[in-house]
Amino acid sequence: MRIHSPLIGAALGVALGLLTPTMATASPAPRQPAAATTPAPVPTTATDPATGPAHPAGAAAAQTDEVAALRRELEALRQQVKLLQDQIAALTAATPAAGAAAAPAAPTPLAPVPPQVQITTAPAAGGSPRTRIPSLLNPALSAVFQAVGDTSLVRRDEANGFDLSEAELALQSEVDPFTRVDLFLTFPNGAAPEVEEGVVSTLALPGPLQVKGGRFKSAFGKWNTYHNHAFFTVDRPDALTSFLGEESFTNDGLSLSVLIPNPWDLYIDAITEVGTARENPEFNSAGRHLTYLQHLAAFFDTSPDSTLEFGLTAAFGKTGPTESLLDAIDTAGLGSTLSPRQALASRLYGVDVTYKWKPRRLNVYKSFLWQTEALRSRRDLDRLTPAMTLLADRASSLGGYSYVEYQLAKRWRVGARYDWTEFPDAAGERLWAGSGVIRYQPSEFQELRFQIKRTVRNDAAAALFGGDASDTRLFFEWIPVIGAHGAHKY
């Protein structure tokens, strides 16, 4: 909406014809030179006294030069059409605005602003977007992909090498004044495309409410909500992988977010989700049971240059028997006699803390980040006893990570992450890992990441990883973004 509303009421109609000749001189690159050489009397503005002396073309040329006359008329029509278009645009775009503005504008029919300045904006500001309107109505389209190289320095026989690990295609747009859609399609390495997230969210519910529906990454802490290209490191923290699997905890369902009003004017967001979890180890009941989640986040400005955010999350749902139990039953050949329970209660709790330091004056060049999350899983499960019977049991396991990052310069960041996690099947598996990462961003639209990671496991955990008690891996990732990718949250 680039039309100045009082102008519509007051100045535009009068000024357009009047100022057509001066417009050409005012504009450094006149779009319609014809208007400058032949300032034709426009029918609607012919009554304007100022156009009187400005038409030397006169009657003499009228018959001999019909082409010129037609051209002038065409020009006049074109201006009328433009004027009408502008008025329609202004009326449709700013109906409340125009109505309210008409009254104060009326007593000052000559716009207070120099009319030339405004009139020239019609072609300059109104003209260029006109050519883009079709593309403006398309959703914002962007693509991100990650080329990942991954090698173990310990096990040479593993699948080392390069992958186009994922390509993401994002389509984002407002649907109407009330809702917007963010659709992220992902093309995992070599596999069929799938919807990573497809969310419709409200823009303008009464009060501090926002409802989302569709498929979305659950608001479980911080990292779970990130798309892969927005990670700080190449890989996900081990605790998330251990409890939630290789992919983010994603729900198909509904989410209600409420900004809790409070006397301190703090940002406190309460998110409630109800949905069917996309299959993950923690919530895995093949779509037959709902998963519930409650997340509470509070945000503090500890100084003008630093912020602190706290989050608490609890998720409840059902899951099936663990892989290790099913394997054990299979190995024992008891598949036909033992049937483990299918819908087992599963709860996952999380705490997250994020501190950011971003000096406002130089935030492009320097920053510091510390982010820590802890997760606790409590699951009912069946255990295979030495007597080959099933024992109803409950497993509690803990995990978490802590990540620090310092931005050295506009393009360079260095980070380190510590991982510690148990595995949620009551066998006492534990894993520790330390990572160092270098992030290089040649521009806002490209990033290269280098990561080295040393992992140590206890004996029980080693059994889950082919007997390896330790591993050292190198990762390399190259992430370009093209198109209009929506701005990320803070």
């Binding site: 680039r2 100045h4 509303s5 009082p6 102008l7 001066t22 001189t25 504009s27 775009a93 409340p96 309210a100 503005a101 009254a103 104060p104 504008a105 716009a111 207070p112 602003v113 120099p114 009319p115 030339q116 300045v117 405004q118 904006t121 300059a124 260029s128 004044p177 823009l203 303008a204 519910l205 009464p206 009060g207 501090p208 409410l209 900004l259 809790i260 009003p261 004017d265 703090l266 519930y292 503090f300 400005d301 912020t307 955010e309 409840f316 059902k318 209660a345 406002r360 130089l362 935030n363 492009v364 506009k410 393009r411 521009s443 639209f445 093209i482 929506g486 701005a487 949250k489 803070y490």
Partner: protein, 361 residues
């Protein structure tokens, strides 16, 4: 089985009840205005006076391209009647998360509280080819239009209209505030004497048409041309007209057009792209040949590149605020341009001896 359906239902409902919509508009007649950048806040405060409460999200020393969309701003935004944005995609990286987060229809683009202050501005440098190979190009043109002080008059009209719309009772006050601001702007721009003689609107119109010189030289009152009575920033900058300078970012185009100076190159090889060694070497060559003797850098730009250029070529590097509050002396928009014009004029005059011959526009 203890999945607490009921508990969850309560959890879901309690916040919803807490969230019963409060008063959407500010109580009494104080209009709450949030501006994205301090220059807009300053102009709005000049117009609104006591009837408005204005805050800016970005600070004066901050790069308005890269403000962090902190959730605390969302809380401030929710209470606002008006959001003034610079527009032309300057704030594309951080305003959308804030307006979406604010969850109020009036503050998203198209809402009646979302005021795009670029409305009515004659935009320059609209790219004909859109490619990020050209760096961080702004698809709608150069967004730093408030570097031409005359554009502040258009912005003032936009803001006055918006204030009048949300607070019709204050209409007369806002119009008076606008007139006073525009008067002060014209006097600062052309000098009080000339504004008293000719009227600020006439002068602004001639300046916008590029015919100010002809008008001032061609009109005499009492035996002296009007040109002899020119004062203010135009007079100050007249002494250095046609002189070249280099800026860090492409953020002085409107200023250069208005005051007739030439921006011959940029420290950034392309907008938003960190200076490369190759580009700096090229600049050293050009500066050594005397193509420009002054470099303008902003408080939020890194100074290593400009320090290097200064060391290699002896050019004058001045750090100039782009926004109100970007310098302790720049306490409002008019003081900002008082400072900017005097420092640029002084730097160019001081460097004038070694500079290439001034060329007319």
């Amino acid at each position: 089985m203890t999945v607490p359906h009921r508990t969850l239902l309560i959890l879901l409902l309690v916040p919803a009840l807490l969230a019963v919509p409060g008063p959407l508009r500010a109580g009494g007649h104080v209009v709450k205005v949030v501006a994205t950048v301090p220059n807009l806040a300053s102009i709005a405060a000049s117009i609104g006076g006591d009837r408005v409460k204005v805050m800016s999200i970005a600070t004066g020393t901050q790069d308005a391209h890269f403000v962090d969309p902190k959730p605390s701003f969302i809380v401030k935004l929710r209470a606002a009647d008006l959001l003034l944005v610079n527009g032309l995609d300057l704030e594309i990286g951080w305003v959308p998360p804030l307006t979406q987060g604010a969850r109020t229809g009036r503050l998203i683009p198209g809402g009646d509280g979302y005021i795009d202050c670029s409305t009515g501005i004659r935009v320059v440098e609209v790219p004909t080819i859109l490619s990020r190979a050209e760096g961080d190009v702004h698809p709608y043109g150069n967004p730093h239009y408030l570097t031409d002080p005359l554009n502040a008059e258009i912005v003032a009209a936009t803001i006055t209209e918006a204030l009048t719309r949300v607070d019709p009772e204050g209409a007369a006050g806002y119009e008076a505030g606008r007139k006073a601001f525009v008067r002060a702007l014209h006097e600062a721009m052309f000098g009080k004497e000339l504004v008293d003689l000719v009227g600020g609107s006439k002068l602004a119109r001639e300046a916008a048409n590029g015919t100010l010189d002809g008008f001032l030289n061609g009109t005499s009152i009492g035996g002296a041309t009007l040109m002899s009575r020119l004062g203010g920033w135009m007079k100050r900058m007249q002494a250095v007209r046609g002189q070249p300078l280099v800026t860090y970012h492409k953020d002085l185009s409107y200023f250069a057009d208005r005051f007739g100076i030439r921006v011959v190159d940029y420290v950034e090889p392309k907008p938003g792209i960190q200076p490369t060694a190759k580009h700096l070497e090229e600049l050293v060559g050009r500066l050594k040949q005397g193509e420009a003797r002054v470099i303008i850098v902003r408080p939020f730009n890194e100074h290593r590149s400009t320090d290097f250029l200064q060391e290699k070529t002896g050019v004058t590097v001045i750090t100039l605020p782009l926004e109100t509050g970007g310098d302790p002396a720049a306490t409002d928009y008019l003081k900002l341009y008082d400072l900017v014009t005097s420092r640029i004029a002084a730097a160019l005059a001081g460097a004038g001896a070694g500079a290439a011959p001034a060329q007319g526009r």
